[in-house]
């Protein structure tokens, strides 16, 4: 056995990983490790260190392998990291595979009887007798089972130098409704800590050190953030059907509404949340409510989107506001219900038969889940059309750090609605007339007390006065106006953000949950290849003019997305001047895991390697 291996096992302090490593907890779902992981995450966060947590769980309820990854990153890299530095192996079923997957030098905290130390010699092993330790905590076997995983929190606290005060406060916060449980869990943490102190010799390179990078920040998942957005958008009707990973959006919305939207005087609800019998009914209810003038929403995932196709077309053609959240998971079909993807944009862009076009928003952070939710209601009413907010499982169900959300700075934009008084004044009302030249007609709301207010809404051909019509001119004219309206949307939707100016002719376009990994990948490209690429983050479809502008100013633009078919690239190709199309190159990741920075930078590197070196020089040079 050579020295190199010894080196790996006993790293020099020089290569210490301070606030820059990830911990993977391999466990079993339904075993209560969620609380332990949240305590770990919170403790690090409270130490001021940028941190993220990602849950990789199976599509069942209990008893199957689950992995939770916590990444501390002083550089604010909060995307997924491909390789774990620290494995907590408490699931006997996967322990051997989990250990096999580690890079040399990684550390393993594990349940002693598993004897993982025999598997490899290039890792650092920390055996922990979980059962023995937990035996001292409680005489009740059920309780022991509940707190068992807290043992590793204590072990890690010692090994990684977690601030104990923060750990205790995280434990107490986690169980703030049950002080007894808090005590018991804290005891388990201490037992683990004590054991580690006495029996484990630190040999790994990972260490935490207090920073000031998280002060004032919050931790939240994207679905809760979107629910908050709906609350402050003034949603009044929500109709939904459960589906992973979207259920928690409407569930937390219902909680919020119950807390904050009962009329103080009467105790009655200023909202209705309806659990529909399926997604067809859910979107139908939203369309009915939107037609009536309510701010109405639903939330679903891929299979639900497919089922909503027919109503989506009605909403587009009859011009009815609606907000639909798609928390994307891996398709096609049932696919991988608990894995993440950006795979629905292609079908949503033209969801439904015939010539339909839908507005889509792509929140790139939990803060944007909140902001885009608010924007979506405004846009839906301004544009009188369904607006889709495309989040995904990674963004929606994982916990993310964020700046606190800002209170809406604008009043609600309710679009072109004519009141009875308006009707009296304007004298004439034609529901589908393009009065303002922006393609957006005026509408009245049912119940408007004016004899001319009523009109007839239909998904069949109609003229400007909403009368049934099969006339070729009426039809084509109306379709042209809808196209104009869609063009109007370009300027109303959140514009793409130039996240990095870049200093060469290489650009990168991404959206949604790829954002943080992209930021990290850009650093890798700069540090490792000397490429300072510009980065444009798309936030909506249709694309604003700035998108073409960005592509025009770069010779080579990588479009990063989490699907197989380069769906965003296709949308760009269809929208851009065709001359720009050759500049676009696709970078895709579609294995169900959140995209990792390394996968992005590696693929870009591979692509660049195919180009002549001269070209690379030109591409990376600052443009004139």
């Amino acid at each position: 056995m050579a020295t190199s291996e010894l080196e790996a096992v006993q790293p020099s302090l020089a290569s210490e990983l301070v606030n820059d490593f990830s911990i993977q907890v391999a466990t079993v779902n339904g075993s209560g490790s969620q609380s332990s992981n949240m305590v770990l995450l919170r403790s690090i966060f409270q130490m001021g260190i940028p941190v993220s947590g990602k849950n990789l769980f199976p599509s069942n309820i209990a008893g199957l392998p689950t992995w939770y990854t916590i990444r501390a990153s002083r550089k604010h890299y909060i995307g997924r990291k491909q390789d774990a530095n620290f494995l907590v192996a408490v699931n006997p079923e996967t322990a051997r595979e989990d250990v096999a997957a580690l890079q040399p030098g990684a550390a393993v905290v594990y349940d002693q009887p598993l004897q993982l130390e025999t598997l490899r010699s290039d890792l650092i092993f920390y055996p922990v007798p979980f059962d023995k330790l937990v035996a001292g905590i409680s005489a009740d076997a059920k309780l022991r089972k509940l707190v068992r995983t807290m043992i590793y929190v204590g072990v890690l606290a010692h090994l990684l130098r977690l601030d104990l005060a923060e750990v205790e406060s995280a434990v107490r916060r986690q169980f703030h409704r049950k002080p007894k449980a808090a005590d018991l869990n804290w005891a388990a943490v201490q037992a683990g800590l004590e054991y580690a102190r006495q029996h484990l010799v630190k040999r790994d390179r990972c260490r935490l050190e207090r920073m000031r990078e998280t002060a004032g920040q919050i931790i939240i998942d994207g679905n809760s953030a979107a629910a908050l957005g709906c609350l402050f958008a003034g949603v009044t009707v929500a109709a939904w059907y459960p589906i992973t990973p979207s259920s928690s959006l409407c569930e937390s919305l219902l909680d919020l509404l119950r807390k904050h939207r009962l009329d103080p005087a009467t105790g009655k609800a200023t909202f209705a949340v309806i659990q529909a019998e399926d997604e067809l009914a859910a979107i139908g209810m939203v369309i009915g409510a939107g037609w009536m003038g309510a701010r109405a929403m639903t939330s679903t995932s891929g299979p639900g989107i497919s089922l909503m196709a027919e109503f989506a077309g009605l909403g587009y053609y009859a011009e009815i506001p609606a907000v639909i959240f798609d928390i994307q998971r891996v398709g096609p079909s049932t696919g991988l219900p608990t894995r993440t993807a950006q795979g629905d944009l292609g079908s949503i862009a033209q969801l439904s038969h015939g010539d339909t076009r839908h507005v889509m928003l792509f929140p790139g952070s939990v803060a944007e889940c909140y902001e885009h939710a608010i924007a979506a209601f405004d846009l839906a009413e301004q544009l009188q059309t369904p607006v889709f907010v495309l989040s995904d499982l990674d963004l929606g169900m994982n916990n993310w750090m964020s700046q606190p959300f800002a209170y809406p700075s604008q009043p609600m934009r309710r679009g072109k609605v004519l009141s009875a008084d308006d009707l009296q004044r304007v004298g004439e009302f034609a529901r589908y007339r393009d009065v303002d030249g922006d393609g957006i007609p005026w509408r009245t709301l049912p119940g408007t007390d004016h004899p001319d207010a009523a009109y007839f809404t239909r998904g069949s051909g109609h003229n400007e006065r909403a009368q049934y019509s099969e006339r070729p001119g009426d039809y084509a004219g109306n379709m042209d106006r809808l196209r104009r309206k869609f063009d109007t949307a370009r300027a109303l939707v959140p514009p793409a953000v130039r996240e990095r100016p870049g200093a060469g002719r290489v650009g990168l376009i991404a959206f949604g949950s790829s954002h943080y990994p992209v930021l990290e990948a850009l650093d890798q490209l700069r540090d490792e290849l000397g490429i300072d690429a510009g980065y444009l983050r798309l936030r909506a479809f249709p694309f604003g003019r700035e998108v073409a502008g960005f592509i025009e100013s770069h010779e080579l633009v990588f479009v990063v997305e989490q699907n197989r078919d380069a769906q965003m690239l296709d949308l760009l190709r269809a929208d851009l001047a065709p001359e720009l199309a050759p500049r676009l190159q696709s970078v895709r990741c579609y294995d169900g895991l959140p995209i990792a920075a390394r996968a992005i930078s590696r693929e870009i590197e591979a692509h660049l390697a195919l180009l002549a070196p001269g070209i690379i020089g030109r591409l990376t040079a600052t443009p004139a």
Binding site: E277, A289, W291, A294, L445
Partner: protein, 344 residues
Amino acid sequence: MSTQVNPKLNRIGLEPADYKGGKTTLCAGCGHNAISERIIDACFELGVHPQRVVKLSGIGCSSKSPAYFLNRAFGFNSVHGRMPSVATGALVANQTLLGIGVSGDGDTVSIGIGQFIHTMRRNLPLVYIIEDNGVYGLTKGQFSATADLGSTLKTGVSNDLPPLDTCALAILCGATFVARSFSGDKRQLLAVLKAALAHRGTAMIDVISPCVTFNDHEGSTKSYKYVKEHEDALQEVDFVPAGEEITVEYEPGAAVEVVLHDGSRLLLRKLGHDFDPTSKAAALDLLTRSHEKGEVLTGVFYVDAAKPDFNTLLNLVDEPLATLPEARVRPPQAVLDQIMAGLR
């Protein structure tokens, strides 16, 4: 100014013309047209405010009919089989409006049976009218799921599947006003419609409405002739608006009186059958047995005027959700601040 009362004006001072709809594009003689007329009559006579009505439908000849009554009401001709969900969203968003849903047997019982059932279950405040002709009129006469066993098409093809009984289903699933009538029975249909409009909760009326073009021939059990010959009216139905006197006299026990939500009364004078319209079991039993006999039983089968409707279960504020002002739907900054603090 003249104080003369125009006899042609109703309770709220509107004339029949204020209730009319567009010119029908349905076939001359289509049962659906007669139903539109009865809806107009009922709304006029009750003094319903046309602007306070929303009329919704799916797709089919029947579903076109909302365009042919109450022009001053907002209309929504949605997609095939999904009127119930649109109506649910609409009426939850504005519970102060009166909802009339019109559907066909294909629209409701074939493609739409799922939404139908769940709407019944919710007891959504909605008058749900099925214009039932046993065929898909608009797609040229294929059997629907209410076609009777052995009923034939014009081509001679015979239906070999049993019909689904919308009334039995509605009762079983939770509707609180369930009736069957016949487009050719002006008097009964009008009375049933009025009571349905006064009811709070789902009022489901299956109206046999012959399709003259595709299902009015010998061999059809939904033809005018067949229904006229086989109609078995359960009761004589009368509607007495709130505050009005009951003028007809009944022997004790000869009629059942149901007081509706707004104080109006539904009078059901027994005809042959001794029947309690407040018992689900009795209604199901009656319907099952009358089916076996091949009769077309009409009348009010079930009423429960007390069960809370869906909006009551939702505990909604009195005003329409749709138009609540910003101050009532966007919580103040303090709420956000407090939530943010909790997430730190």
